[in-house]
């Protein structure tokens, strides 16, 4: 449904995308994950036909975006990053304007506007001027306009940014519900969120694809080893030795954290055994030490990038 082949984009001399290729199958939800400035927005703007790629080609629904721009845009819903809408226009008037451009037939337009208002839980805000809306509601209006006309392809640039936790859950459910009906490419810089919404994840950084995999595989790959953070009080060397002596423990690192009480020690235990936490707990308690904290450490995006970049370097070497 979406095909990106060897796309390169230069802004003057700055290279924003460097030979990116990937594809999205019909009905799939794919997450584009990367830190700020990694080229996510640039890629989405190329996909929506806002500007062309310097090199390479982009296809949406089998059509070349560069040569059949209007036909592509007819099949596309786009939520840009930082949706700021006309401040002195009401939500309903704005959606009616968008519907006039996107949909033929007055009756269908009306039905579509009411549908997206209810899907995005905006009915009670429909009469409000958009300038008076909170960030979360503006984001929903942005999403509502993208959903008008049931587009085959949805391009959503940071759909949940700026929303409060409840709204994030609502929007996430809404997007997941669209899976299968529409092909969705969404971007985010939050790993966890992409995991929750997307079947497949494309990770980009500095204009390159670092990894492309299903969310589950990627999780496994990242969490290939379980990491557990332990805070215990006891003589440091003995605790360290006891932990190292455990079976299936690959590595134990000791942390010197500021503000630590001298009798307490903090360690990270890395193991291929996902159930290592129980053994760690048993060891510490059986030795008569006190266990203050024991929790799994998940890798955040930053750590993931470090890991992936290193993997890439190893493969290259």
């Amino acid at each position: 449904m979406i095909g990106v082949q060897n796309v390169t984009k230069y802004y003057g001399r700055v290279c924003a995308l460097d030979g990116i290729s990937f594809s999205v199958k019909s009905g799939e939800i794919v997450g584009l994950l990367g830190p700020n400035g990694s080229g996510k927005t640039t890629l989405m703007r190329i996909l929506t036909g806002f500007f062309p790629a310097t090199e390479g080609s982009v296809h949406v629904a089998g059509l070349d975006v560069a040569t059949s721009s209007l036909e592509v845009r007819n099949r596309l819903g786009y939520l840009p990053e930082n949706v700021v809408l006309y401040p002195d226009m009401s939500v309903r008037a704005f959606l009616h304007f968008c519907a006039r451009v996107k949909i033929d037939g007055t009756a269908q337009r009306r039905a579509n506007v009411e549908r997206v208002l209810s899907e995005c839980a905006l009915e009670h805000m429909a009469h409000r001027q958009m300038g008076t809306l909170s960030k979360g509601y503006r984001q929903r209006v942005g999403l509502a306009q993208a959903l008008l006309g049931n587009p085959e392809v949805l391009i959503l640039d940071e759909p949940t940014v700026g929303l409060d936790p409840n709204q994030v859950i609502d929007i996430r459910e809404l997007i997941k519900g669209l899976g299968g009906k529409a092909t969705i490419l969404l971007s985010s810089h939050i790993l966890h969120e992409v995991e929750l919404m997307c079947e497949r994840v494309v990770i980009i950084d500095k204009g390159h694809i670092l990894a492309e995999d299903t969310a589950d595989h990627l999780s496994e790959r990242i969490q290939g080893a379980a990491n557990v953070r332990v805070r215990a009080s006891g003589p440091r060397p003995s605790v360290l030795n006891a932990l190292r002596a455990l079976k299936e423990v690959d590595q134990v690192t000791e942390h010197d954290e500021e503000g630590d009480r001298p009798e307490e020690a903090v360690f990270t235990v890395r193991s291929s055994n996902h159930d290592i936490a129980r053994e760690v707990a048993q060891t510490i308690i059986h030795s008569g030490w006190a266990l203050h904290e024991l929790r799994p450490v998940t890798l955040d995006l930053e750590a993931l990038f470090v890991r992936l970049t290193r993997e890439g370097q190893k493969e290259a070497a």
Binding site: F50, E71, R73, L85, D88, M89, C98, V101
Partner: protein, 249 residues
Amino acid sequence: MFANFWAVLNKELRSYFLSPFIYLISAVFLLLSGYYFYSDLVFYVQFGFGLNIMENFWQLMFTDLRLVIMLTVPFLTMRLFAEEKRLGTIELLLTYPMRDTDLFWGKFAACAIATLFMLSFTLVYPALMFSLQPFDWTLVLPGYVGLVMLSLSFIACGLFISSLTDNTVVAGLGSLGTLLFFWILSWNDGATQFGLISTIASVSMVTHFQSFARGLIDSKEITFFLLFIIFFSFLTLRSLEARQWKGRR
């Protein structure tokens, strides 16, 4: 086929007429043109009564209205593209299934309607004059045709400048400055006889308006204004398209 044009026109008209701004601008426009009407009338009564009303009153009146339009149209055009760019809504509009020309002409038409709305109030002056002393109303017709052509060319110019920036103040001052410059060029023929400046002066819409003010509809001048509008529309469309060729190698 024109559905998108109508959609844009409708949106822009709403944004013009549902905000107090157009009424404020119209008030200023009418205050200035009302004063010109009064002072030109006093001039006619004191120095030219009974003589040619066309030469001693209407010609002055149209020339003064020209200046008032010049001072107000930039305020109507300044936000049309600059604000879309500032808000970021231009990204939505340009990724909708809509041609750039629909967007441009929709905005152009909306601004033309807003300007004609302002201008229509000035019809009170000929009506008032006619009620005092009936005169051949076809005399003022060319003047109004000229004012409409002039307004449209100011709008084309203002839209182009608005498409170059994301700052409405810059867009407003830029078009005001450009229009004033064209006017100033018409002041001293001696200064604009040679070189490039004579070329610029020769395309000044301000001077091309004069034959209309004198009561003539000259097809040559109408063609000039149409070409002027087409030229600036072309530039604006290229400016909207610029995103397509930036970053090409």
